[in-house]
Symmetry: C2
């Protein structure tokens, strides 16, 4: 079946679509009530709230799809604040001509990712616009974090170690090579990182800052953190993890892994004294195997790269369009 | 300035757009922290959570615009559960070619509506896709409701009175006539109804069900409620409020106000014994002046219209496409 405008009219056909696909895959005790808004159990902690829209093209790529991405993105944003992600909404803008089988595959992927992350999809919305069979997804998320928790973009401190949880540029390189119809072994790193983060927090590590390294790449994210905290970040070029495949592609196409987007990598800042402990914990998790200590926070401003030659090069945030519709 | 793909890349241009427009109009103590996710004060009550996307065309119409609509829609969904709306996220999918002045007007309208509703916009997201200068907005919302509150779509009871808070079909008729470039005096009813609802709840009225009468119109909404509650709803044709302008348009174009969408009208079900009290309170509010008792809940199933001739006619939910992109 192809999605048509009537599926977005709010009448009988919308209802069939909701019950036939969304309610079937996302079902849980809260969603099943099908109210105008979901009534949640009381939260155990301070509420944390976020939202992201996803417009990635192509819809399916090695390592993921727009559905998986839409759950991971919001789950990871909550985890970055030290929150346990709990509830998501899922709102769909469908283009006419979209195959309902395609939609079903995407929704199944969202359900599987939500299951892995341990979150419930509790409410949603469906609209239809004229188009060419694509779709956009928005997810909003609520999590809860402990009353005492200072994790923040503004909480970097001099003498923090900067940990990067894995190789840089994989998602970006995957989307780009898919668009160029290149055959490669690249896989998006798209993953829900909340359990990885929780393991570090549960071990009592005094984490100052967590940020997922998405659009704009490490260069942009690190610049924002340095600015928010009033500190300087030094990254060691030789320690930054980049896969051989991404290195090769970057060489050929003139890309810089520092400004390439990721969907399953984080930067964590912890006091130097706790860095080795945090690293060992991360390396023992499913998505943190390649974690490294790749830099440090100092007094000052800006982000600098200590090159293999021993000089410092200023790192600038992404300018220009990067790769459109990467997430 | 025209929006281009670089504004969605997550780098310097995205940051300028966020700070230049979104952060300027939406500013508050929580949003200003610009974290990956907003850390909220503890909620006073049970959390209620919802999300809606908005794709209305045209972007501006008499009585409102996509920005006002996007705030009202989510605020009203929370109010329908008896919750006090508190926090919203605002996520934008911008099409290339969108004028930044147009975006700014829409964002200003969102900020003004949020102010009226008493909610804070605490987080957001911006993506850019290729297109023709349009945009889509998603808002998600969190509210809090009292621990003891049974307001639900499934809580209609026989001997409830059905109150409709104002005239039907205004938003639908406005969007339709704008598309047809007809000159009329029609105005969308788009409005934040949370204060109206709160006034009724604060007076201690035992409200069983609240539903905003949006896409699909009263016919669709009443059908869903009757089904969820296992009851029958009888509506009195002569009591249903419809403006002369909407009546005239419906006559000419063969429309049915029962399936026309609204953006500032609600159905409330309250025990018959409290109906007059609730009505008087509603009629004393800004958006409830034209409220009427228009029907009743009985044992049985389905929705029926008591016609002027004294016969009962079965009311069916909207089938087919209604009016695409009405909200």
């Amino acid at each position: 079946m192809k999605i048509a405008l009537r599926h977005g009219a709010g009448g009988e056909e919308t209802s069939k679509l909701i019950h036939g696909i969304f309610a079937t895959y996302f079902q849980n005790d809260i969603l099943n009530k099908m109210e105008d808004a979901a009534v949640l159990p009381k939260l155990n902690g301070v509420p944390v709230f976020t939202s992201d829209s996803f417009v990635v093209e192509p819809l399916f790529f090695p390592g993921g799809d727009i559905g998986k991405l839409s759950v991971c993105g919001t789950v990871n944003d909550l985890a970055c604040m030290g929150a346990k992600p709990l509830y998501l909404t899922a709102s769909f803008i469908l283009e006419t001509g979209l195959d309902s089988e395609t939609l079903e595959k995407i929704v199944a992927s969202m359900a599987a990712t939500a299951e892995e992350a341990g979150v419930k999809i509790v409410a949603g919305d469906t609209k239809v616009v004229e188009g060419n069979g694509g779709l956009y997804i928005n997810t909003a998320g609520i999590g809860a974090r402990p009353s005492v928790c200072n994790i923040s973009a503004a909480n970097l401190k001099p003498k923090d170690a900067v940990i990067i949880t894995g190789t840089l540029g994989d998602h970006h390189a995957t989307i780009l090579t898919q668009r160029l119809q290149m055959e490669t072994s690249l896989q998006s790193d798209c993953a829900p990182l909340n359990h990885m983060v929780q393991t570090v927090l549960d071990a009592g590590v005094d984490v100052h800052t967590i940020r997922d390294i998405t659009r704009g790449g490490l260069a942009t994210v690190a610049t924002e953190l340095a600015e928010a905290s009033g500190c300087r970040i030094n990254l060691e070029e030789e320690k930054l993890p980049v896969s051989e495949a991404v290195k090769g592609l970057s060489g050929i196409l003139g890309l810089d892994p520092l400004t390439m987007g990721n969907e399953g990598k984080m930067l964590l800042a912890v006091p130097y004294s706790e860095a080795e402990k945090a690293l060992a914990i991360l390396q023992n998790t499913k998505y943190g195997k390649d974690a490294v200590i790749a830099g440090e926070v100092t007094e000052g401003t800006g982000v600098y790269l200590l090159t293999a030659l021993g000089s410092y090069r200023k790192v600038l945030p992404l300018r220009g369009e990067g790769l459109p519709r990467i997430c």
